[in-house]
Symmetry: C2
Subunit: 475 residues, 2 copies
Amino acid sequence: MMNISKKENLSSWYLTVLKEADIFDYGPVRGTIIFKPYGYAIWENLQKLLDGLIKTKIGAFNTYFPLFIPESLLSKEKEHLEGFSPEVAVVTYAGGEELEEKLIVRPTSETIMYDAFSRWIQSYRDLPLIINQWCNVIRWEKRPFPFLRNTEFLWQEGHGAHATHEDSLDTVYKALEVYIEVYQKYLGIFGFGGQKSESEKFAGALKTFTYEILMPDGKALQGCTSHDLGQNFSIPFEIKFQDEKNQLKYVWQNSWGFSTRSLGAIFMVNSDDKGLILPPAVAPYEIVLIPIYSSSKESLIVEKLRKIKNHLEENNLRVFFDENRSETPGFKFNKWDLKGAPFRIEIGEKEIKEDKITFYRRDTSERKTLKFEEFLKDYEDIKEDFVKKLLEKSKKLTLENFYEIEDYEEFKEIMTTQRGFVFAFWCENEICEQKIKEETKASTRCLPLDFKEEKGKCVYCGKESNRRWIFAQAY
Amino acid sequence: MMNISKKENLSSWYLTVLKEADIFDYGPVRGTIIFKPYGYAIWENLQKLLDGLIKTKIGAFNTYFPLFIPESLLSKEKEHLEGFSPEVAVVTYAGGEELEEKLIVRPTSETIMYDAFSRWIQSYRDLPLIINQWCNVIRWEKRPFPFLRNTEFLWQEGHGAHATHEDSLDTVYKALEVYIEVYQKYLGIFGFGGQKSESEKFAGALKTFTYEILMPDGKALQGCTSHDLGQNFSIPFEIKFQDEKNQLKYVWQNSWGFSTRSLGAIFMVNSDDKGLILPPAVAPYEIVLIPIYSSSKESLIVEKLRKIKNHLEENNLRVFFDENRSETPGFKFNKWDLKGAPFRIEIGEKEIKEDKITFYRRDTSERKTLKFEEFLKDYEDIKEDFVKKLLEKSKKLTLENFYEIEDYEEFKEIMTTQRGFVFAFWCENEICEQKIKEETKASTRCLPLDFKEEKGKCVYCGKESNRRWIFAQAY
């Protein structure tokens, strides 16, 4: 079905697989995409999973704020405005009339939310206020690429307001932990949690935390962000509260987001030349049932698969019975390999005779014939093992392309050949960072969370430094 | 807590209750609202419920299409363009540049979806194609009112493409049935399913079906719509398929939507002077637990309520334990009456001594002290009864304000006094409809689904007519 090698031409492989797997189509406006049912179902499953974690682990409540932000609100925090101005879309007329004030289509909702926070928060009793929102956002992309850089994307944005900086930081880290849990435990995607540099942090934040994922072409993908906003917004938006001692104080804030970019990571990282490999937690169908029709046993085969389908659905598994008669079993095997269904149950004459099923797993291509009850007993473990193996594979790929570099020539060499994560000392001066970017296209991705203090010299200027940063070319 | 009568001043009562119950706040742009957590949770529950019905009963798959529609696409169907032009918001520049083509912020997604349908549909094997989308839409409202008429609202829009008109109509009716089921079985809101007149139908539809709900002030609310689009879009968008005999044909289409307007119906219809009465299926908390603290039994009370909470949550019920110590039980009773929690369990010294619970239901204000196990056994029946009673009450209100009218003077009289649904013969000429609207502010709401043929005379011009229509002033 496919004859493009993932290794040889990643972006062409990616676009071909996503089209053939019926994940997306292009929208009419450049940089926009249509999520087709098979692609959207992955987001729905991921959303449900993450929504539960956000409610239980971070304690956020869902809300919905308007799409349109008056220009004057967006302008209240200077760095935020400067950061987002070049990429916003602007509504200038509506209802048949030119608007008095231009409306910004939200690129993120800090400003519109914090305007409300200033009314909602009066006393320490109103804190913490932690809310979340699932919505669409618009950021005009100069070089769009499906899922990884779209003009419109879907995401959740969480926003916390707290009485102290410490409390706020607690939420910043909790959010990052939840995201890392999703990537590692559910999606099987390795990466580095860490802190962004001053020039790479969110416009308006004190600090930004991220999860940086290595893509198979050696470029990095920022998988999520969690920002410590300090009092950068609470001061211009006048979000004040009376503390226990009746003193008026500004709140401490944070915001954190996880978007449909993550689907791009799933597609690029967990896949091979045959197509996608979807983690069971988010696959539209975790098990696909395929009949190997045979004239003598046909009704028995169908009957058995129907029973299995009902049984699995009663156990809340997402199952698809591919009954289609115009496609051969071989065609279906290729199709579901391409579409990344993690598991299949195949039943033909042999399985009917032996009263067994043939169980297939997409990652290893292993087939095993066994009793249905036996399979069912082990299924939760198999799922867990499946994700564990994905994570191991992605960790292996990342570490194989992780270079501790002291020498700038070597750094440049890597960035013009195989690329990857370069782990190098940096003096933390923005000029060196800028020069490196100009000369190698690699930017600082993050200071890993668990960095060790070491003595070294900035890979660019040679000044003393006591910690290494991860550099990479980025999506 | 409240001292506004619902009967005396509905809109002031409505706005006060919704603010005090923490349902919404105003957004900075006129006509927009912020869904606060307690308000958004109602939509989340409703969404989950309706999403399940749409998937299982209509067989639709969820998708996501872009927010921005190029002006040229919106213009492809003439009536559609004319209908929506006056109320769209328009993006004219983005990414720092003036756009070559203006972008319409979707007021509904027919045009952007059907452009894709023309690529996706080639053969009868691709049909039916039934998709659904949960999203935000923008329609510039001249006279906004929270939930009932907002510039931005949330909804689901379903879209079907079929090989025959008959198949398409089947989906039109199925969608309407699902909506009526939601209103009647889950929300307890009576109304009339029916067909819109030519002048009131959706811009671009052959026919539009609706569910018309009587609000307590005698005005009608259109609760949802389901449109038979015929081939009105498939022709300009060239959505063609090869049938079994290799003939090229245009598809037959439908679209159907249900929005956050429905929350306005819940708030206005199911409520009283004490506040909201939320149907258990969508209430953020169906049961609120209230401790009547007493120094001698305090720890026993808390312990018992914690156990109850765990037990109920294990049964997948949405429960809130209002432990707050700065509010008296009486204050909490009023607060949860206002916020519309359908049921409460109250536990104080008495209940501990008797090893019972006191169970309260919001609609009747009844309190009953009984064994917890006894309550649990009957709870599903109580919930069902609760919604049944809401539906009966709303049906009673509707029928008390339903007038079979032959005389136009009487029609006018009703519309200047108590208002309500006027059921009258109409010749189906748009001129009479227009005159009636100018003179009484009442428009045709619908031809009820189960209308009987009768002989009569148009209430306005006296021409012969064989069926009555429902007229009302509308939100």
